[in-house]
Amino acid sequence: MKFAVVEFPGSNCDHDAYHATKHVLGQDAEFVWHKDADLGGADVVVLPGGFSYGDYLRTGAIARFSPVMARVREFADAGGPVIGICNGFQVLLEAGLLEGALLRNRDLKFLCEHVHIRIERTDTPFTAGAVAGQVLRVPIAHGEGNFHASPETVAALEANRQVIFRYCAEDGELSDRSNPNGSVSAIAGICNAGRNVVGLMPHPERACESMLGSTDGRVLFESVISSIAATGVV
């Protein structure tokens, strides 16, 4: 299984995603530079976290014009699994591969801490190995993770079962207190209509080794590895 980790200028979780997929999960992984002409024959594309272009102007706003994004779009259109983590999620939204936008956190501060998220749907390649309702303990680290979309869009996302992760308490209950950034409907991550493109604010790649305090993030990577092995997609 080969993961492509896309590097934009200013990406800073690129090595973390690489480490998690290659060294922890033992898969093939390769960096793809944002000016590269192809995705190196990857089976899965990861848009990692960080501050592409310094997050200047708006998070993800400039990165989405990088040449590699045209390749990512083709890959996604062909059904290839794509995951955007944190800044990667922001890039996917700006690029229109996912719907919605991310505003500044409700209390205007950058937040780095472990939170709980509930897996809402298991019919995406990144959650197929999980159980619906399963609660993960994973870190967040962002200043602009407050998911926003118009009420119609939110309703459509819900109706089409595109809300994949919600912030919750340890027991899976939703509450204002367990929503760290003010996201509408506690949305922590969504997928596209085709269900192969997933974006989320929390960092599963930071939760793959017990030494780092949680291994709950592995299920996302393990899911996509077995999904691909099972379907032989791409």
Partner: protein
């Protein structure tokens, strides 16, 4: 054109200094030359008041790869890896513009580390402000923390720990010290040195503007009501540019097309060109017209003195230019050739070809002024040493005092601060902030690096030499509490005006204390920073040395934190039960007094204790370890219980001579003393721990056990305080945060 006296004075030259300048040049200086000498000989760049004293630090040891003198120090951590680290202050800029001042401080220390060829992997910060009841102080803190976060988070280096304290003396002069650590292959260190006549000199990074001209001189002058006039000296940080520079420079260093590299920090092009030349004993010639400029009409003087951020100077091998340029181009950076290395030993500055400055490099550096400033023991010391407990009323509700102490901002949880910092990026952070020293693993090895920043201005104010010893001992102890062996130290010496003999005395005493502790603990100083003139309207801050100690833990799986992990463990106090109230947090909070003398540290005992901790961690005899500092044993114990769920503790502290005195119990609970650590131990390992402690003459007393959901404290069998873990958690959790909630 000859330069008039007013101009000379404005550049801060003393008559003798100017005379020396004339001797070196053998003629009158040009304006550009005057500017260059002025910044190079400023306190900030030349350390003219402190250099003499800093020589007393021990700087050598088997692990030292690079001692003081380069951009950062370096120690060997094994496995062919070198840890490179240093601390830097950005006190004055942060007071003028908290966000940008703190942010550019972080940017500066990061450049110092990657300039050495090391990949930065961790940041720490040490902060001092006035008391939190002042809204202006809160705004300052808000800005400083956001600035550190803004820069560190963006560039992707985790801020894994630090310290923050509040004392009235810092209200007009906050301290913002930042520490960065990186790792490099042992043979991969780069040096800030030029060599090889004809080799090209490159400029890369942000364009030069009129930023911070005379910033270096600003950091060397006291604040007064006219400081506002110096405001244009503020710069805006660009972490994105620095991220590109960091990656590109590390990539260039891997090519061996590089001869030397140096960041442009204080005094920008001036400092980098002359220092690189002086270190290599060569000349450097540049043309300022080739320097990329952001503003029009800049004079050579301005270009040479600009402190625009995010710029690097490098010397490449002649003939390998294309390789260097290609790497920078990949990162959308433009490396511009602005000159070359020469063999005449001169710093020659041209402007469109015309020579505007020509200064012999070595004398500019080597003959910088060096002062043995007069010292005099301050008169206040005799007064503040007097602490007469007989005039004070002991508290009646010890549980309440306990909770109050837990809720004071300096002791309370720092979560409000560190959750604004990305402390997990790079996936190496093995111990999250708030649980003890910073711990990051080194991927590809079994090792972890452990570091702590510690300082206590109040102790140094009451006794600067003891304060220096205590700060060094505490920083090393915090590292040992995680199970790591301290192997190197850096320090940031924040003091007032060195031209005042009492301040200079404090400085000299503190250096002596630190040096003594370093020798006793066998931890060399590999570098540091001095920040003087920390005064507002003649009112100096507490003398505040901040020590940064780096340790290595051979097997990361042995790491310890402060938290009692489960019930039914024995709690053992390593060290003396007795603590003193002189200079304690209790005395300040409960009686409003900063008096007495802090308990002295017995350095032999300290060394034995740290050795015991390291062995106990390695042998897995203990389950947690926490250094007792502010607030005494009661506070230390409560800190072992909070954030761990509901593991409480029952404690019975022994009585000791004088325990029947009115303040005996207070001293048992809240008295402070160095060389004390609370550890938890499973029944099976207890005897091993106790006998090993006995062998090393470290006092060890079983004082209780973990469990339950309350913290019960007795002294000599007599119950004295009993609080719920949840109460403690609440007081401690909200103590700092509540000041910032809307």
């Amino acid at each position: 054109m000859s330069i008039d006296q007013t101009t000379i004075d404005a550049h801060g030259f003393s008559p003798e200094e100017f005379q020396r300048l004339l001797e070196i040049l053998g003629r009158e200086p040009t304006m550009t030359e005057l500017g260059i000498f002025s910044v190079m000989w400023s306190e900030h760049c030349s350390y003219k008041s402190s250099r003499l004293h800093l020589r007393r630090f021990p700087t050598e040891g088997p692990r030292v790869v690079q001692g003081p003198g380069e951009n950062a120090g370096a120690v060997d951590i094994g496995d062919g890896i070198t840890a490179v680290f240093k601390i830097e202050s950005h006190n004055h800029p942060s007071f003028i513009e908290p966000y940008q001042g703190a942010a550019t401080g972080v940017g500066g220390i990061i450049r110092d580390i990657f300039t050495m060829g090391a990949r930065p992997i961790a940041l720490l910060n040490s902060l001092r402000f006035g008391e939190l009841d002042d809204p202006a102080t809160k705004r300052l803190i808000d800005g400083v923390v956001a600035g550190i976060a803004g820069y560190g988070n963006s560039i992707g280096i985790p801020t894994v720990g630090g310290e923050i304290a509040f004392e009235p003396g810092y209200a007009g002069n906050p301290l913002v010290n930042v520490f960065c650590l990186g790792v490099a292959k042992a043979d991969g260190l780069a040096m800030g040195l030029a060599s090889g006549a004809g080799n090209p000199v490159y400029y890369v990074g942000a364009k030069t503007g009129r930023d911070g001209i005379h910033g270096a001189t600003m950091a060397s002058a006291e604040f007064d009501e006219h400081s506002a006039d110096k405001r244009p000296a503020v710069q805006v940080g660009d972490p994105f540019m620095e991220k590109l520079l960091l990656e590109a420079c590390l990539e260039v260093m891997r090519t061996d097309a590089l001869v030397g590299i140096q960041d442009m920090g204080a005094a920008g092009l001036t400092c980098s060109t002359s220092e690189m030349g002086a270190r290599g004993d060569v000349g450097i010639e540049i043309d300022v017209a080739l320097v990329p400029q952001r503003e029009t009409g800049m004079t050579p003087y301005e270009i040479m003195l600009s402190e625009s951020q995010e710029r690097m100077l490098l010397v490449a091998q002649r003939g390998r230019e294309a390789e260097v340029e290609r790497v920078f181009a990949k990162w959308d950076l433009h490396a511009v050739r602005i000159g070359q290395v020469t063999d005449d030993g001169l710093l020659r500055i041209r402007d469109h070809g015309e020579v505007v400055a020509e200064i012999p490099n070595r004398p500019l550096a080597d003959r910088a002024p060096l002062y043995d400033r007069p010292t005099e023991r301050p008169a206040y010391l005799d007064d503040v040493a007097q602490l007469d407990l007989a005039t004070l009323a002991p508290p009646t509700d010890l549980g309440q005092v306990w909770l109050d102490l837990l809720g004071t901002p300096v002791i309370a949880s720092k979560r409000w601060v560190y959750r604004q910092y990305d402390h997990m990026v790079r996936t190496n952070t093995v111990v999250l902030p708030g649980l003890g020293a910073g711990v990051v693993r080194v991927k590809g090895t079994t090792r972890a690096l452990v570091f702590s920043l510690d300082g206590n201005g109040r102790h140094c104010y009451l006794d600067p030499a003891e304060g220096g010893r205590l700060a060094m001992a505490e920083a090393a102890r915090n590292v040992a509490c995680a199970g790591a062996v301290p192997i190197g130290a850096t320090n940031c010496l924040n003091f007032g005006n060195p031209e005042r003999p009492d301040i200079m005395w404090q400085f000299s005493q503190a250096v002596d204390g630190i040096a003594e502790a370093c020798r006793a603990l066998d931890v060399p100083i590999t570098g540091g920073n001095v920040s003087l003139y920390n005064e507002t309207d003649g009112q100096a801050i507490y003398p505040t040395p901040v020590l940064g100690v780096v340790g290595v833990l051979d097997d990361v799986s042995h790491v310890l934190t402060r938290v009692f992990p489960e019930p039914d463990l024995d709690i053992v106090l390593l060290g003396d039960p007795a603590g003193g109230l002189g200079g304690s947090e209790y005395l300040k909070q409960h009686h409003g007094l900063v008096r007495g003398t802090p308990c002295a540290v017995d350095l032999d005992r300290e060394r034995a204790l740290q050795g015991l901790l390291v062995d106990a961690a390695q042998g897995r005899w203990i389950r947690s370890a926490h250094d007792g500092s502010d607030g005494g044993l009661a506070v230390t114990l409560a800190e072992c219980c909070v954030e761990s769920g509901t593991v409480g503790a029952q404690i019975d502290l022994p009585s000791w001579d004088g325990a029947d005195d009115r303040f005996g119990v207070v001293q048992a609970l809240f008295g402070e003393a160095p060389s004390r650590v609370i550890v938890s131990v499973a029944a099976g390992q207890r005897d091993q721990l106790l006998s090993s402690a006995r062998e090393r003459s470290v006092p060890a007393t079983v004082i209780g056990s973990t469990g339950g959901d309350r913290l019960r404290l007795a002294v000599a069998g007599q119950s004295v305080a009993d609080i719920g873990v949840d109460e403690a958690e609440h007081a401690w959790g909200q103590g700092l945060t509540r000041h910032f909630e809307r």
